[in-house]
């Protein structure tokens, strides 16, 4: 089984705080991590390799320091990693990102499965996975919470997808692209051996010149969408009325009274 996992290095948005005076993000001390959803994608690829044999290749597009995310994936057990980094890739939106990753996947060549996390926690779009699948003209299976069966001879895959109404059981053909949700597995921690390997391994960097890409379709120039404004959201104007009373019972009575009097509960 040949698997390619697309990952993204993101700031840990759960650690991001707002400077109340300036209304801006405080980025100092916020660690860069592998997008949490992508760690489930790596884990799933590793589990399949353990079951079926083969190779897991991890790729990311980003600035040179994104190499640390790839090293972490190697430490978890991935076989190979490739960094896509070039000034010409900068400013890419989801279209240009999917286009560039698809070009890299074509260059890698042989694959049965491509894995992505359902979305990245900084951009929250979930669009790059479907974009890559469409670029490569392969099927996409999004929001997958279980891979129930894989048959490499018949080129068949069966999965469960987490949709609004429940879990949808879907059958499709290989090769395909799978985006995963957290329910699919529990990602492993890097091993000592893996960490040692990640320190030694030479991770190649591919630039735009290494890929068959149209220069007009990558980075800022290739991106149909433009960010024109960034602001912190206005606070919701809740004038919180705190129930003050001598006992918890009285506080609860006051609140129940209000909710019914204001017809919030009928």
């Amino acid at each position: 089984m040949q698997a390619i996992v697309c990952i993204k290095q993101v700031p840990d948005t759960t650690e991001v705080k707002i400077d109340p005076e300036r209304g801006t993000l405080i980025r100092e001390g916020v660690p860069s991590i592998i997008n949490p959803f992508d760690t489930y994608a790596i884990e799933e690829a590793l589990r399949l390799r353990e079951k079926f044999g083969g190779k897991v290749t991890v790729i990311t597009m980003g600035p040179p320091q994104a190499i640390s995310a790839l090293k972490e994936a190697i430490a978890m057990g991935a076989d190979e990693a490739i960094l896509l980094s070039d000034a010409a890739f900068a400013g890419a939106d989801t279209w240009a990102t999917a286009y560039t990753l698809a070009a890299a996947i074509r260059k890698i060549g042989n694959f049965d499965l491509i894995f992505c996390g359902r979305q990245a926690i900084d951009g929250d779009t979930g669009q790059v996975g479907p974009g890559i699948a469409t670029q490569l003209q392969i099927n996409q299976l999004t929001y997958v919470c279980k891979i129930s069966s894989l048959d490499f001879d018949k080129k068949q895959i069966e999965v469960e997808r987490l949709v609004e109404e429940g879990k949808e059981v879907v059958q499709s053909v290989l090769p395909c692209l799978v985006t995963v949700v957290k329910d699919i597995n529990q990602p492993r921690y890097p091993t000592i051996l893996g960490i040692r390997r990640s320190q030694k391994i030479q991770i190649p960097t591919w630039t735009a010149a290494d890929l068959e890409v149209d220069q007009k379709l990558i980075g800022l120039n290739g991106s149909p969408t433009k960010v024109v404004k960034i602001e912190t959201p206005p606070p919701r104007q809740g004038k919180c009325e705190i129930m003050e009373a001598e006992s918890v019972e009285q506080q609860a009575e006051m609140l129940a009274e209000k909710l019914i009097a204001e017809k919030i509960i009928v």
Binding site: L25, P63, S85, D124, P130, T225, K229, C240, A252, I260
Partner: protein, 399 residues
């Protein structure tokens, strides 16, 4: 790779840009001149602030798409499951109507499915002028390929200016494929849409960085301008049975044997509530201390006939399933009443519930951010407050 270009010889080191940078990417170097770090996203917030015009972003090459003017009209994809439309579809018809009126153009609904003509009629009562109706057995259950191919062909044939889809699992799956085929811009999970005066471009407003910031996004040189829209953000329109509209039948593109994917089954878990549609939600968070803590939440929810929600902390800890998660990476809800118990109210949680009509917060920490957005609050231990509230309500509701 920082995109911002700095003219060092022009920079006066006044530092005004440092204060407006949402990403803290700017600082002064030892020569008192602005330098930019990798944290720069090229958002451009600093550019107009600079009094000496020392900052700029590279201009994207103008695309040679000369036929932008040929594109007109606002389209909405009507998402359906088992012949029933998702409420996000009608919310988008309501918002699409407003945008179409502002652009003085037509609102079109795209209804795909098997025996779904009634949805086409419904779309007109909610505000559509025209409906493309594609009925075929291959479209009974949503699958990416057959749906995407039809929408791509319809867009090529009729050239809409704006195309909205719901930010549901299906909508995001479909929109990502369609926009890639068409080489056009797609903005995910919008919570605000406006038409910009002058340019008439669609301004797409969406949260990013876990809801910490709001970004406004444009798609200037590609059409249609595509966006997925968050559920429960726009008002449900009131249907008008007397509205008239045109229904145009179009054909499916793929035959069943050309479609590689089969949907074999749908497993609906028992007790799995769809919190997105609940009128009252009682939610629990880290303060519940464990899975058994949810029993007080369930009791209150039962008295109110409401659903049980949870913060990411409670779901990540394994106390309750993901289906209950409210927030940026869970469900967005807009109930009449949201009771947050033992939830501090991180910005990611707020992103999923801040549009609730009334918010009640119960938390032992009076400084918890949840109180800043709540309408009513009780500061105290939820394990005594919540049961007391349950009793008080039970008494009044005669249960």
């Amino acid at each position: 790779m920082a995109l911002l270009q700095i003219k060092r010889e022009v920079c006066t080191g006044c530092g005004l840009c440092i204060q407006v940078c949402p990403f803290s990417a700017l600082s002064l170097d030892n020569e008192n001149i602005i330098v930019v770090s990798e944290a720069c996203t090229g958002c451009g917030a600093c550019v107009p602030e600079c009094p000496t015009a020392a900052l700029s972003l590279p201009e994207a090459e103008k695309k040679e798409q000369t036929d932008l003017g040929d594109y007109n009209g606002v389209w909405v994809w009507v998402e359906q499951y088992n012949g029933l439309a998702s409420s996000i579809s009608w919310e988008m018809i309501g918002e699409g109507r407003r945008l179409a009126d502002k652009r003085k153009t037509m609102l079109t609904a795209c209804v795909l499915g098997d025996q779904v003509e009634s949805l086409a009629r419904q779309a007109i009562t909610y505000g559509a002028d025209r409906v493309f109706l594609v009925e075929d057995p291959t479209l009974k259950v949503y699958r990416t390929d057959p749906y995407a191919r039809i929408l791509v062909e319809l867009v090529k044939k009729y050239k809409p200016e704006i195309f909205l889809l719901g930010a549901s699992t299906r909508g995001r799956d479909l929109a990502g494929a369609v926009a890639t085929y068409l080489y056009t811009g797609l903005t995910a999970d919008c919570t605000g849409l406006e038409i910009e005066d002058g340019s008439n471009l669609l301004l797409q407003i969406r949260p990013a960085f876990g809801g910490n910031i709001m970004a406004t996004i444009k798609c200037p040189y590609h059409r249609p301008q595509m966006a997925t829209v968050r559920h429960h953000v726009f008002e449900m329109p009131v249907p008008d049975e007397s509205r008239q509209g045109q229904i145009i039948r179009e054909k499916a593109i793929l035959l069943e044997e050309q479609i590689a994917t089969r949907v074999l089954d749908l497993i609906v878990e028992k007790n799995e509530v769809n919190i997105a549609d609940a009128k009252i939600i009682v939610s629990g968070g880290r303060g519940l201390k464990g899975p058994e803590g949810f029993s007080v939440i369930h009791e209150l929810a039962e008295v109110l006939g409401g659903a049980v929600g949870a913060s990411r902390a409670a779901v990540d800890a394994g106390w309750i399933s993901y289906a209950h998660q409210v927030g940026q990476t869970g469900r967005t809800v807009r109930p009449d009443l949201y009771i947050a118990c033992g939830i501090s109210g991180a910005i990611q949680h707020q992103a999923g519930m801040r549009t609730s009509k009334v918010i009640v917060a119960i938390n032992k920490d009076p400084e918890a951010p949840i109180f800043q957005i709540a309408d009513y609050g009780i500061v105290g231990d939820l394990f005594t407050v919540v049961p007391a509230l349950t009793r008080a309500l039970k008494k009044r509701l005669n249960k």
